[in-house]
Amino acid sequence: MGNKQTVFTPEQLEAYQDNPFRQRIAQVFSEDGDGHMTLDNFLDMFSVMSETAPRDLKAYYAFKIYDFNDDDYICAWDLEQTLTKLTRGELSAEEVSLVCEKVLDEADGDHDGRLSLEDFQNMILRAPDFLSTFHIRI
């Protein structure tokens, strides 16, 4: 990337992605959770997001990315945040809550009102294009 830094700030990484999840990715893969990545973190990120990473590993990291409040569960608030980022806030509030409700209906296996890692993993295992969309090509 040109300069001889070993730590990349979130702003520098932002220049390489227009991804609405860029902050979450940086936070999840960084050492101390604040978005600053060392070279090893950077390599780990590309290793997980590569083509040959196993599905379970990608599912684990996808779960962490979508878990906005870092409480090891994807609750309704996390889902709302995800939906807002996915649709750039163009869904009405009523539609957002409808979709969140339906997602929890479909995926929540233990019926506790939020998605645990197992629920997420079971659901994402059946998605045929998860491996190809959770993928960054260098």
């Binding site: 992605q17 227009d18 991804n19 609405p20 999840f21 990715i25 090893d40 390599l43 780990d44 290793s47 997001m49 040959t52 990473a53 196993p54 379970d56 590993l57 599912a59 684990y60 996808a62 979508y66 090891d72 889902l79 995800t82 939906l83 996915l86 649709t87 750039r88 163009e90 869904l91 539609e95 409808l98 979709v99 339906k102 997602v103 479909e106 995926a107 296996g109 233990d110 019926h111 506790d112 645990s116 890692l117 197992e118 997420f120 993993q121 079971n122 659901m123 994402i124 059946r126 998605a127 045929p128 294009d129 998860f130 190809s132 969309t133 959770f134 993928h135 960054i136 090509r137």
Partner: protein, 704 residues
């Protein structure tokens, strides 16, 4: 596997401190208990000698020695597993590679078996990759798919597949029809006018110098010098070997096409089942796996967000419609169904009117061709000749938007609307072709009445159509050319001017009217229609597949050019798996429908007396029993056995039994799957219950 679990227990043992702070807080929580389960531990496994994901780092990264990594790695991997695929962090990989390299140098060559196994695996992968690269335009297709969506990519993929079919068909035609013609000497020239046959005379006077418009006219309608050329059936001389190969080539082409289309549609079906079986998880999949993390550039991100928004809105809307349908009272049901009946009757009436129009136009063509004024002006002659094609084109242009409007009024969900519109348009296109052929049949066989005045002597209408097979071939040739010309005309006169004009118009109106999208269903149905025309015509016009290859090649580059210059990316998604399967099914339907006129002509209509390789026989098929009787005795017996009932009935019975068995098997698998799903749910509930009890018990113990 055992190595892994011992490694894990070691790892967990060393990180006991991880649990310690939580325990100190007052009993293990539910999540910590759940984290200890084997399934969670496998998920978090990170590699040899490393803490699993999510565990807090106890020591510094630098403090860990490379040696510890290498030892743990060696302990774990007994076989030369491709360690690239294992989820190890960078340091572990480096350590393993260093130690591995050292080992390799120390021990010299590895065991031969492992070496050969690795070489075999690598060469297989390479061969698969190379075969994939052999397919032409692979990169173009990928680019189209990325820029315009999967639906557009499937159109071009279908076009490439049809090109392959046409190439194969033309190769078969050249080998089995053209080569045998010249094998026994040059074929004779066009017949002279005074022949003493009871079936009239076939006049093909070779005009010396023809005017330029007449040349163009001849080229576009297949008359004049083209009529007695290898292009049409009439040219081929009545030689027995040629006749046999000519007839067999039709069946060979049909078989090849069937064998190539079936596996492709089967794989499409598998994809559809996989995608559609997620009916229970559609929302969660849309939310969690719809976002493509590899997108770059604001435009693409915006587009993807719009697509996701549209999909979610469609799903919600369909849920609303379904909910509304569920709570309808009896009265409302009756009202809705009466509206649907009326609209279906309207659709049928429109289709009937369209077909009658085609039939009438064909009849009108023949009448108008008799008028002397038409025969003198070549332009009028051309117009009259192409009248049925114009009519079919007009009908195909006007009716589908009407169907779209009607479907909106019927109150079905959007996906069902699309299916209905597709079905109706398919019916329209293929049936108008069938009506054209029906009117031709009417003319050839005097309405099926073998005793009619014109058809009594020769079995077909020899006065108007001395060589009826060439006439049918000419009609199919005209349809193919007309299809190409209208495609060109639409592109040049509608799409490009619209883009240019509205590109100059400023503001939102210009942008709205100027954005064109690639209409995948219409274009694919056009392709299938063109291919059906070629399948019908390839018996009567042997070089038609070759011409069609050239046409499809031109069409590919034309459509690609139009796509990249005038179209914007699709704002609505079209599920590629459903598209592929449905359209291949329609292609099979086209193949089946195209077989009907060809088989009818082969078996039931007497061949022309004055032209073609089958002249003088009672029917085209009559040649086969004759040639079989010249084969050796055993072959004859075997082939005649294949035709008896003693063979056909058991075959039918066995096929029905196999089909019933497969259906029963599929049904039982479906039931097994739903049972297993239910079991998984119950197990999850059990697990949570047990974990809660464990927490309760341990906190009770602590209290005591």
């Amino acid at each position: 596997m055992e190595e892994r679990s011992t490694c894990e227990s070691e790892v967990w043992g060393s990180s006991e401190g991880f649990l310690a702070p939580r325990e100190a807080r007052g009993g293990p929580s539910l999540s910590s208990v759940l984290n200890e389960l084997p399934s969670a531990a496998t998920l978090r496994y990170r590699g040899p000698g490393v803490l699993p994901w999510g565990a807090q780092e106890e020591e510094e990264e630098n403090g860990r020695s490379i040696q510890a990594f290498a030892e743990a790695a060696l302990k774990e991997l007994q076989e030369p597993h491709p360690f690239r695929e294992l989820p190890w962090p960078m340091q572990a990989r480096r350590a393993y590679r260093q130690s591995h390299a050292r080992d390799q140098m120390a021990h010299g060559s590895r065991s031969k078996g492992a070496h050969w196994a690795r070489w075999l695996r690598r060469s297989k992968e390479k061969m698969r990759e190379d075969l994939g690269n052999l397919q032409p335009w692979a990169w173009t297709l990928k680019r189209i798919g990325g820029q315009f969506g999967a639906g557009t990519e499937s159109y071009f993929s279908l076009l490439r597949f049809l090109l392959l079919l046409n190439v194969l068909a033309s190769v078969v035609n050249v080998c089995m029809m053209l080569l045998p013609t010249w094998l026994e000497g040059a074929p004779p020239g066009p017949p002279v006018s005074n022949s003493s046959s009871p079936c009239g005379s076939y006049n093909l006077h070779s005009q010396g110098l023809v005017t330029y418009p007449t040349q163009i006219f001849n080229l576009l309608t297949g008359k004049g010098y083209l009529e007695w050329s290898p292009l049409f059936y009439g040219f081929y001389p009545p030689r027995p070997l040629l006749a046999v190969t000519y007839l067999c080539s039709v069946f060979v082409i049909g078989l090849i096409c069937l064998l190539l289309i079936l596996p492709r549609s089967a794989s499409g079906l598998k994809q559809t089942l996989l995608a559609e079986s997620g009916a229970l998880t559609s929302y969660s999949h849309r939310v969690f796996s719809a976002w493509n993390f590899g997108l770059r550039g604001d435009v693409h991100v915006r587009l993807r967000q719009r697509i996701i928004l549209y999909e979610l809105q469609v799903e919600l809307e369909e849920a609303v419609v379904r909910g509304r349908a569920a709570v309808r009272t009896v009265g409302q049901h009756a009202a809705v169904w009466s509206v649907r009946m009326l609209l279906n009757l309207l659709v049928l009436a429109l289709l009937g009117a369209a077909f009658f129009g085609v039939y009438w136009a064909t009849g009108l063509t023949v009448e108008l061709q008799e008028m002397p004024v038409v025969q003198q002006t070549p332009l009028l002659k051309l117009g009259v000749d192409y009248l049925p094609s114009f009519f079919i084109f007009g009908v195909n242009f006007v009716l589908p938007p009407v169907f779209t409007l009607i479907a909106k009024l019927e109150g079905y969900t959007r996906s069902r609307q699309i299916v209905l519109i597709l079905l109706r348009t398919v019916f329209l296109r293929l049936a108008s072709l069938m009506f054209l052929l029906f009117s031709l049949w009417n003319k050839i066989t005097c309405g099926g009445n073998a005793e009619a005045q014109d058809c009594k002597t020769c079995g077909y209408n020899y006065k108007e159509l001395p060589c009826w097979e060439t006439r049918v071939g000419q009609e199919m040739y005209k349809l193919m050319l007309f299809d190409l010309l209208t495609g060109l005309a639409v592109m040049l006169l509608i799409k490009f001017p619209r883009k240019l004009l509205f590109g100059l118009c400023p503001g939102a109106l210009g942008r709205l009217a100027g954005t064109q999208e690639f209409q995948v269903p219409d274009e694919v149905l056009g392709l299938i229609y063109a291919q059906t025309v070629v399948w019908v015509g390839s018996f009567f016009c042997p070089l038609l597949p070759l011409l069609n290859t050239a046409k499809f090649l031109l069409l590919f580059y034309l459509k690609k050019f139009t796509l990249f210059s005038t179209c914007s990316p699709a704002s609505r998604t079209f599920r590629a798996s459903t598209v592929n399967f449905v359209f291949l099914l329609v292609l099979l339907l086209g193949l089946a429908i195209s077989a009907v006129p060809v088989l009818y002509s082969i078996f039931l209509i007497p061949p022309s007396e004055l032209c073609g390789p089958f002249r003088g026989q009672s029917s085209i098929w009559a040649l086969i029993p004759e040639s079989i009787s010249s084969l050796p005795e055993t072959t004859q017996n075997f082939l005649s056995f294949l035709g008896t009932q003693a063979f056909a009935v058991p075959l039918l019975l066995i096929s029905s039994i196999l089909m019933a068995y497969t259906v029963a098997l599929a049904h039982s698998y479906g039931r097994l799957i739903s049972e297993l799903k239910h079991q998984i749910e119950t197990e999850v509930q059990n697990k949570v219950f047990l974990a809660q009890r464990a927490v309760a018990l341990s906190s009770a113990n602590r209290a005591v």
